[in-house]
Symmetry: C2
Subunit: 302 residues, 2 copies
C-alpha cells in the first residue's frame, strides 16, 4: 500500500498532556498554548475535559478555557466528556467534537472507572446519542490496545471487541492508543487491523506513547497500513502516569519531523510548533520531552 | 520482503560512545563495561580506537583496555584504526576487526580529516590491505549518509560513490551511518539501497542516531529492506557532537526492546543490558539516554 500523502494530527497537549502534569496551569496559559498550536497549523486540538474537578482539578477551568479561545475556521476543538453531566456542561462551550473513552483491558477498566468494558460503553451510549442529536462529532479513545499496566499484553481480539462496542453505540471514529508505550510495530499493526474490522481507515487514528521510545516506529508501521490520523502532544506534555519520570505522549514535533522528512504533508510549521512547545515548557520550567526541540534548540544555541 | 528473524548488534558504546563523553573514564571502567556487554549477550563490541592521543585523549588507554578484556569465544572485538600507525599499534592487541571510515559528504571529509573523500579512502587502502593480509576483518564506517552538519542533505549517489570506493580498496562490510540523526525512513532506505549496489545485504549495517528521535523508525525501515546488522550504544552513550545536549547514538536498550517486541532474536538479555547501561551511567553520574532504561527503572522504583 502506498503511504498516505498527508496526515492530520490532533494535538492532545492542552488536555491529555496538561492533565498529567503536576503543576497547575492557569487558564490564560492554556488559551495561549491553544492559540500557538493553531497558529502553527494544527487543525485539531483536544482542549480540555468536562470531568468532576474532584477527580481532575487541572481541568476545572474548562469553560473559561473554551470561552477564551479565539476560534479559527477549519480547526476542530474537542473536549473529553466522561458522562452526561460532563456533556451537558460542555454543550455551552460548543465543542466541535466530544471524546468518550474505553479500555481494551478489563483490569484497566475496573481499576480506572470501576466497571467492565461493556458497562463503560453502555454508560456512554446516551452521551454519544445526545452529542450526535446536537450535530456534535464523537470520537472514541481506546486505551491499552497493546499493553495494560495491570494485565500485561492485550490480545488484538480485545481491541476488536472494544471497537465493535464503540461502533455499536454510534461512536464515529476511534483512536488506537498504546497507553503505556510498550507497543512495537507488528503488535500495533495487529491492534489497528482488529479495529479496521469495525471502522473505515479514515476513521482510525494512532495514539502512541513514547515511553519505550517506540512511538515513531509504530507510527511508520501504522502509516504502512494507510492510517493517516495521529495524536500527539506538543513538547511531549504529560509524562507517563504509570512510570514517573518516563515519557508519555510522543512529542508532536518529533512526529512532524518524521512526516515532513518522508514528504508527507501535515500543514504544520515545525518552527512555530517548536516555539509553542518552548512556550509551555518554559512555563512548566522544565526541558521539552521532544528530541527534535532539544536538537533544534541546541543548534540554535550554537 | 519478510523481516529478518534475527539481528546482530554491534555495541559501539565503549568507543564511539565514550569518545564523545567529556568526562574521562578509567580503563578499568571501560573493561568492566565491555564485560557487562558481553555478559548481556552482545556478540560484537567496538572497544577502542588507535588514534593519536593528541586528538582523542579519551582513547589513549587503548592497549590497556584491549589487554584487560576477558575475551569470550564468539564475540568480535573491533577497534578503530585511522591510519597505518594506528593499525600497527592495534596489531599487538589482536583485534578481530578494524574499522576504517569515510564520509559521504565532501565538506565533512574536508573539515574532519582535511582531505577529499577519494583521498581519504586512498589513504586507508594500505591499512585495509595490511589488515586483510593478517586475517583481520575490515569494516568501513560511512558517515553523513543522509545529512551533513556543513552541507545539509546528502544525495544517495554520494553514498553509492563512497560505498564503491570502500569496496574498491577491499573493505568487507560497511555501516550506513546517519551521523547527525536527521534521517527519516525513506531517505535512510535510499542511502541503504545506494550501498546495496556495491555490498551484499549481509554486509550492510545500519547506524542511526536518535538526535531527532528517528532512529527506531529508521531501523524499522532498514529491516524492511532486509538489513539485519545494526549499531547502537548502550545507554545512548556519546551524545551528539553537533548539537550539545542532544541525543546521539540510539540506545541499544531501545533497539533491543523493539526487536524483541517484533519477535526478532538478538541473543541479548535486556535486563542485563539495562544493568550494563546503569553501570556506566552511574559512573558518568547522569541519567541514561535510553527511554527503555528510564521506563524500566521508573517502574522498578514503583
Amino acid at each position: 500500500m502506498p503511504l498516505p500523502t498527508r496526515v492530520k494530527i490532533v494535538d492532545v497537549g492542552p488536555r491529555d498532556g496538561l492533565q498529567n502534569e503536576k503543576q497547575p496551569v492557569p487558564a490564560a496559559v492554556k488559551i495561549e498554548l491553544v492559540h500557538r498550536l493553531q497558529d502553527a497549523g494544527l487543525k485539531e486540538i483536544e482542549v480540555t475535559s468536562y470531568v468532576s474537578p474532584k477527580w481532575v482539578p487541572q481541568m476545572s477551568d474548562n469553560a473559561e478555557v473554551m470561552a477564551g479561545i479565539r476560534r479559527v475556521a477549519g480547526v476542530r476543538y474537542s473536549v473529553l466528556t466522561p458522562n452526561m453531566q460532563g456533556f451537558e456542561a460542555a454543550l455551552a462551550s460548543r465543542p466541535d467534537e466530544i471524546v468518550v473513552f474505553g479500555a481494551a483491558s478489563e483490569a484497566f477498566s475496573q481499576k480506572n472507572i470501576n466497571c467492565s468494558i461493556a458497562e463503560s460503553i453502555e454508560r456512554f451510549a446516551p452521551v454519544v446519542a445526545a452529542a450526535r442529536a446536537q450535530g456534535i462529532a464523537v470520537r472514541g479513545a481506546m486505551s491499552c490496545t497493546v499493553g495494560c499496566p495491570y494485565e500485561g499484553d492485550i490480545a488484538p481480539e480485545k481491541v476488536g471487541y472494544l471497537a465493535g462496542l464503540m461502533k455499536g453505540v454510534g461512536v464515529q471514529r476511534v483512536d488506537v492508543a498504546d497507553t503505556i508505550g510498550v507497543g512495537t510495530p507488528r503488535r500495533v499493526q495487529a491492534a489497528i487491523e482488529a479495529t479496521l474490522a469495525h471502522y473505515a481507515l479514515d476513521d482510525v487514528s494512532g495514539h502512541f506513547h513514547d515511553t519505550y521510545g517506540q512511538a515513531l516506529a509504530n507510527t511508520l508501521a501504522a502509516l504502512e497500513l494507510g492510517v493517516w490520523n495521529f495524536q500527539s502532544s506538543v513538547a511531549g506534555l504529560g509524562g507517563c502516569p504509570y512510570a514517573k519520570g518516563a515519557t508519555g505522549n510522543v512529542a508532536t514535533e518529533d512526529l512532524v519531523f518524521m512526516l515532513h522528512g518522508m514528504g508527507i504533508d501535515t500543514g504544520i510549521d515545525l518552527d512555530k510548533l517548536i516555539d509553542a512547545g518552548q512556550y509551555i515548557s518554559g512555563f512548566l520550567q522544565r526541558p521539552s520531552n521532544s528530541r527534535v526541540a532539544k536538537a533544534v534548540l541546541a543548534k540554535r544555541a550554537g
